[in-house]
């Protein structure tokens, strides 16, 4: 009996999550894809948005949150994060470490996740660093702070890989310690060669397996080729199973990778940072390549000297699918600021600006069927803001992921004391247990 009760108790939250209906009412709903709804209601059933509009009937028994005077905005999506990775974020010991997966080293301990929730950010593409030409496979996660890391992973998200071009992979700004030789490449020429050769090798790898399969089918006793995780990854890119997100700054390297992609037969999904995207926006557009960029950062490296905050507007005006990304645990907390800057620098409309950190980012991650706007049927990832999210004076009150509250300012304020008390108690307990 006791055991049975225990099981019931264990199941209770899961059942409740499925059945839970929440209605956020009287809010200014910034749907992003379907305009603004004044005094609107968003109905959340389980993990999904069930209805959005000004005439939504709130079912009996729904948990109602009155958001009068508040704004509802989709959960912000960051297309470039390095948060929640345990250990080094670079495996830069070889020019190509495409076999490495960020997913293997994710940790639910990084406080950055929580801080981002407090800034309305709910989803991120967590990437390998940029120290080598082909770094490793990324992972799209939702910041489900407090849950085990396995639940952060967006299970049906596309696989991704991070490439890096320019100064970082050619080790322009750092040197190995004494006793260790510099690593190839040292020029943009070498970076191109590393990328190109990796794909040439991958074509051979695919051919080797095809040969093997053919001979095996003929009944020959042949040694199978070695399964090489790096080559499997490169082959995955060629087969279109892995999206390429490439760190790039200068126009020439952007063009270079698009050329290699055309030659070798793969598609670049997006350039990340892409500070000179504005110089080659029409080439990017023509190649169907998107861009995740930041607005402000410039002048920190030679290759960032031509960065301008107008980059976003020029790319958008040229039809490039563009998002603002963070590459920073700090900036990830206010990507709404960066979106607003695209109005100031280059004159995007309010809706175009809002798209930069929501639906455009979702499209770059190929998750726009699930996230990026407030629409019925999408994941209930959204935040209640005290004002318009493009205003510097606004802050987040409550952040939902899949219908669950992961940040709430009132709860946060209360927990501060609880946490301080727990810390004091633990330290007291430790003192008491020290040998006499």
């Amino acid at each position: 009996m006791k055991i049975f009760l225990g099981i019931l108790l264990l199941l209770a939250p899961a059942l409740a999550a499925q059945e839970r209906v929440t209605a956020i009412t009287n809010a200014t709903v910034l749907t992003v894809t379907n305009g603004v709804i004044e005094r609107g209601t968003v109905l959340i059933r389980g993990s999904k948005i069930a209805a959005v509009g000004s005439n939504v009937t709130v079912p009996a028994g729904a948990h109602v949150i009155d958001a009068s005077g508040r704004y509802l905005f989709p959960g912000i999506i960051d297309t470039h994060s390095h948060a929640a990775v345990e250990g080094r974020v670079n495996e830069a010991s070889l020019p190509n470490t495409g076999m490495v997966r960020v997913a293997d080293a994710l940790t639910a301990d990084d406080i950055s996740a929580y801080r981002q929730l407090a800034g309305g950010t709910t989803t991120a593409l967590v990437l390998h660093g940029s120290a080598n030409a082909i770094g490793g496979q990324g992972q799209i996660v939702k910041w489900k702070w407090g849950r085990p890391i396995a639940e952060w992973v967006v299970p049906d998200a596309p696989r991704t890989i991070k490439f890096a071009l320019g100064e970082n992979p050619k080790s322009a700004n750092f040197r190995p310690p004494p006793g260790i030789d510099r690593q190839y490449p040292a020029t943009r020429m070498g970076v191109e060669e590393v990328v190109r050769k990796s794909f040439v090798d991958a074509h051979d790898y695919i051919a080797r397996w095809e040969e093997y399969e053919a001979r095996r089918k003929r009944g020959e006793q042949v040694i199978p080729p070695r399964r090489d995780l790096l080559m499997e990854t490169m082959a995955g890119i060629l087969r279109g199973n892995i999206d390429v997100h490439s760190h790039a700054y200068r126009a020439d390297e952007i063009l270079m990778l698009m050329d290699v992609a055309r030659d070798q037969g793969f598609q670049v999904r997006a350039f990340q940072h892409v500070l000179e995207g504005y110089k080659v926006a029409r080439e990017m557009m023509a190649a169907g390549v998107g861009g995740g960029t930041f607005i402000d950062w410039w002048g920190y490296k030679a290759e960032a000297y031509d960065a301008t905050p107008y980059n976003v507007a020029l790319m958008v005006r040229n039809g490039v699918l563009t998002s603002v990304n963070s590459d920073s645990d700090e900036l990830a907390r206010h990507l709404n600021y960066d979106a607003a800057k695209a109005m100031k620098y280059g004159g995007l409309t309010e809706e175009e600006a809002m798209r930069l950190c929501t639906i455009n980012a979702a499209k770059l991650l190929r998750l726009d069927h699930r996230i990026g706007s407030i629409e019925a049927g999408k994941d209930a990832d959204l935040a209640i803001w005290t004002g318009h999210p493009l205003s510097t004076y606004s802050r987040v009150e409550t952040t939902f992921i899949e219908g669950e509250i992961y940040f709430d300012r009132t709860t946060d304020l209360r927990q501060r004391e609880e946490r301080a008390r727990e810390k004091a108690d633990l330290l007291a307990k430790e003192r008491a247990r020290r040998p006499e």
Binding site: G87, E91, V100, P177, G179, R227, K429, E430, R433, P435
Partner: protein
């Protein structure tokens, strides 16, 4: 390599013969016998003959040829098994050279591989033996701790005699960890290590398949010989378990994921932060919990500045064994990378944090024997098992308990003198001249300290009077003691907390006037 292995086999044969010839019939009488495999026998008798246990019980006749060991008032246990040690391998410090800011040229020592056989490379000194035995440990699982694959471990009895004759089982397991290589050497990140592990297991599978395919059809390129991959074959075939070092929940899950992916028999070692894991999560995974509990920073401000997450893990780590016992998880307690003398104090800490003494005993006897498949020979006081017996004057996990007798492979080993000797060698022993850096000026105090079992005693004299210290203890190199400082008519407790490095000490003294730094050195 081959030759070495054959040598071990030969010596095993010789050892078996030698043991059969060994004289030694003992009757351990009048003690409380803890067989582990059964209930405690008050006033029991254990008969040992020719290295094996001949009988255990309350009504066992003492054979006439037996040497009687009177354990009156004492306790009799199977010899303890420490199922993860680095015994016999010089401590390398890859973790230090891995620090990101380290910029000196790194000395590249050859890293062990899965083909490294501990039984062949182990080198146990008398001091090593003494250090382990005086804690009641008669059997260890030994393997180097360095590297991603650190080699094949050995179950070793800590008996005297030929080294090769001590081997109970080799290989016991293949050992691996998530240890990164030095910066700029693949793999130097956690995610790189996991990719490397994954590729290595794939290669081992491929190696086997290639060899099979070649044997069937030699008309194709001949696969190269690879001892490293050969060594992993028993692991991928589930004939041999793999011990993976993992402390945090997430590391344990990573180890489990790899084991699942390649269908390996996983044993987790470390697991100090497994207190939050449910029975379900650890089902089917034996756990070797390292009792090398994380230590608090000696500096109070630093202690308080640490994040709650760190404090929580540090303070709750010693509750792990109790939690695992409560969840019915199969676990052993091991010393891991800590020094031999920390083993029993570490177990006591687990007991203070919710583990019962009975569960603790099982976790250092029968459970590790089962985990490594040597429970037919070891782990309990039962007829036919190897006569590893430890006798203590008090229950073994009591702080003041002393090992009074130790039998390994049925032979008596002296331990008492060794323990006193160890205390005599404590780094704290001696006279220390301390200088307290007070704002009014330096204050000189001399203290003469001596390590006792689990504590430190001594006297002080100097600028603030003289007397006996109180509350002295040494936690590895962290020393704490209190003096009654006298100035004019007032007396106040001054608590010294310092860290000993060779013959120097540095730390903080908390006084009625505030906290001051102090430093000092030991008189030669």
């Amino acid at each position: 390599m081959k030759v070495g292995r054959i040598a071990v086999l030969i010596s095993l044969v010789i050892a078996a013969a030698a043991r059969a010839d060994a004289p030694g019939v003992f009757a351990i009488t009048n003690g409380s016998v803890h067989p582990v495999s059964g209930p405690e026998i008050r006033n029991g008798v254990v008969i040992v003959r020719n290295g094996l246990i001949e009988a255990v019980g309350s009504n066992v006749a003492v054979p006439p040829d037996a040497t009687v060991i009177d354990a009156a008032g004492g306790h009799v246990y199977p010899g303890l098994i420490d199922a993860h040690t680095e015994l016999g391998f010089s401590r390398r410090t890859p973790s230090e050279s891995r620090q990101p800011q380290e910029r000196q040229p790194q000395e590249r020592q050859p890293e062990p591989t899965a083909a490294t056989v501990a039984a062949e490379t182990i080198s146990v000194t008398t001091a090593d033996l003494d250090a382990r035995r005086r804690t009641g440990v008669t059997t260890v699982v030994a393997v180097p701790s360095a590297g991603i694959f650190s080699g094949q471990s050995v179950v070793l009895n800590l008996s005297d005699g030929e080294p090769a004759s001590r081997v109970i089982r080799t290989p016991a397991a293949v050992h691996a960890s998530f240890a990164t290589r030095p910066a700029w050497t693949f793999p130097d990140s956690l995610m790189g290590v996991i990719a490397h592990l994954r590729q290595t297991f794939l290669d081992a599978q491929h190696h086997a398949a290639a060899r099979t395919a070649y044997d069937r059809n030699p008309a194709q390129p001949r696969p190269a010989v690879s001892p490293e991959l050969d060594a992993l074959l028993p692991v991928v075939r589930r004939e041999l378990p793999i011990v993976m070092v993992a402390d945090s929940e997430e590391m344990i899950r990573r180890a489990q994921a790899i084991a699942r992916e390649f269908s390996l028999r996983l044993i987790v070692s470390g697991a100090r932060e497994a207190f939050g894991m449910s029975a379900q999560e650890l089902r089917g995974v034996p756990v070797l919990v390292s009792v090398d509990w994380p230590a608090a920073p000696t500096d109070q401000a630093e202690r308080e500045e640490q994040p709650l997450r760190t404090i929580r893990r540090r303070v709750l780590a010693p509750t792990t064994p109790g939690v695992l016992a409560g969840n019915g998880v199969q676990f052993a307690l091991v010393s891991g990378t800590t020094a031999a003398r920390e083993f029993l104090p570490g177990i006591r800490k687990a007991i203070a944090n919710g583990l019962t003494a009975g569960d603790a005993l099982r976790a250092v006897t029968l459970t590790p024997a089962r985990v490594f498949g040597v429970d037919r020979q070891l782990g309990s006081l039962e007829r036919g098992k190897i006569a590893n017996v430890v006798i203590t004057d008090q229950p073994i996990f009591e702080r003041a308990a002393k090992v009074t007798e130790l039998l390994v492979d049925g032979l008596r080993v002296r331990v008492q003198a060794a323990e006193e000797e160890a205390r005599d060698r404590s780094p704290v022993n001696g006279t220390w001249n301390l200088t307290v850096l007070a704002p009014q000026g330096n204050i000189s105090i001399a203290v003469t300290l001596r390590a006792e079992t689990g504590r430190v005693t001594g006297t002080y004299s100097g600028d603030r009077g003289s007397g006996e210290i109180t509350g002295g203890f040494l936690d590895r190199r962290a020393l704490q003691f209190t003096i009654s400082a006298q100035l004019d008519a007032e007396t106040h407790d001054w608590v010294f907390r310092g860290t000993i490095t060779d013959d120097e000490i540095e730390g903080t003294v908390t006084t009625n006037l505030g906290s001051f730094e102090f430093s000092g050195s030991k008189e030669p």
